[in-house]
Symmetry: C2
Subunit: 204 residues, 2 copies
């Protein structure tokens, strides 16, 4: 019972696409720090990627610049694929983030290298665009990537912040792209940060 049981199609390109599809099912094994909103367990990368993809269909009206929603949704579904190889790096883990870029670049070489060259490049370009946060689509997708776990935290007693182990300043830094790109949404973020500090979920 595994990917070894794959029956070849006789079309090498189709095989690499189907095998890549099977491979990325491992996104369900990459656990994030964030809890599901029902509090039952940590969410995984597949669930998170799906969740922010739906969000990207809903929040474009708050973006400072016009966004291509169809592109942003695609960016959302592929933005964490490299974590299959590089694992999730907690946003507030200073040490882990030092070599994150290098680890993820190598992971991208391995993972996207399994696709036909044109498609590997297409997904890699989207991922790099997301990571660089320079285009409107990428900044918007990055906002979704930060708004979703923030929303989860507000509904799970600040779980990811670890009862005051993460500082308000660190969260504000992480949310800066929302502050700059979605100011209306950021007002709600700020109110929640105030509340989280008041409740002791977040260090002042």
């Amino acid at each position: 019972m595994s990917i070894q049981d794959y029956l070849e199609s006789g079309n090498a390109r189709l095989d690499s696409q189907l095998l890549f599809t099977a491979e990325i099912d491992r996104m369900t094994e990459v656990l994030r720090r964030t809890l599901l909103i029902n509090g039952s367990r940590r969410e995984n990368d597949a669930e998170h990627s799906w969740h922010i993809a739906v969000m990207a269909m809903l929040f474009a009206e708050y973006a400072r610049e016009p966004v291509d929603v169809g592109r942003a949704v695609q960016m959302c579904v592929v933005h964490d694929l490299v974590e299959i190889e590089a694992d999730d790096t907690f946003a507030y883990d200073v040490q882990g983030n030092l070599d994150k870029a290098e680890r993820e670049k190598e992971a991208a070489d391995r993972l996207f290298g399994r696709l036909p060259e044109d498609q590997g490049k297409m997904i890699r370009d989207l991922w790099e665009e997301f990571d660089a946060m320079e285009t409107a689509d990428a900044r918007y997708a990055a906002c979704m990537d930060r708004l979703q776990p923030f929303l989860h935290n507000t509904l799970t007693e600040g779980h990811t912040w670890g009862n005051g182990q993460v500082s308000r300043a660190a969260v504000e830094k992480r949310m800066a792209v929302i502050r700059d790109f979605m100011p209306e949404v950021y007002r709600w973020i700020m109110a929640n940060i105030e509340q989280a500090v008041a409740k002791g979920w977040l260090a002042p």
Copy 2:
């Protein structure tokens, strides 16, 4: 620890969008019959929706008609949302499929009714288009929705087919949209059906 802890923003439209986002996290609780490829457990609707959304970025070249990939990906991420309210109906459950349409229509009224009207309509329209399988984008998304669990079945000893409880004819009927819309992919499907029958996973 729940959606009741939501802090209002002062903008009713933004609140309904954020609350809808929180609500749909329940897609992680809707279990499908399909196993993850690692065989560890059943996959959930959030994982499945994410998986077919990535697939929709990869297989358009096999489609008989041009596909708008950005639209198809959006269709994939929302195509099962109603199951939060209506639950998953197993594709090969004859009884359950009799009243599926009615149950899902009521579920759509409740669920999409929580969004601002324009956005509820936008997602509902996409879902209805998907379900009708008349446009190229919808037929393509429907192919992904069938190809993914089929691939999982081929790699998990035909798990969903229940050791021969599902017939070859039922699977061929379910895969008909792939036969008609993606004939190159259907050749691989057929070879796997032959193998599944030979191994006793599927009734002849």
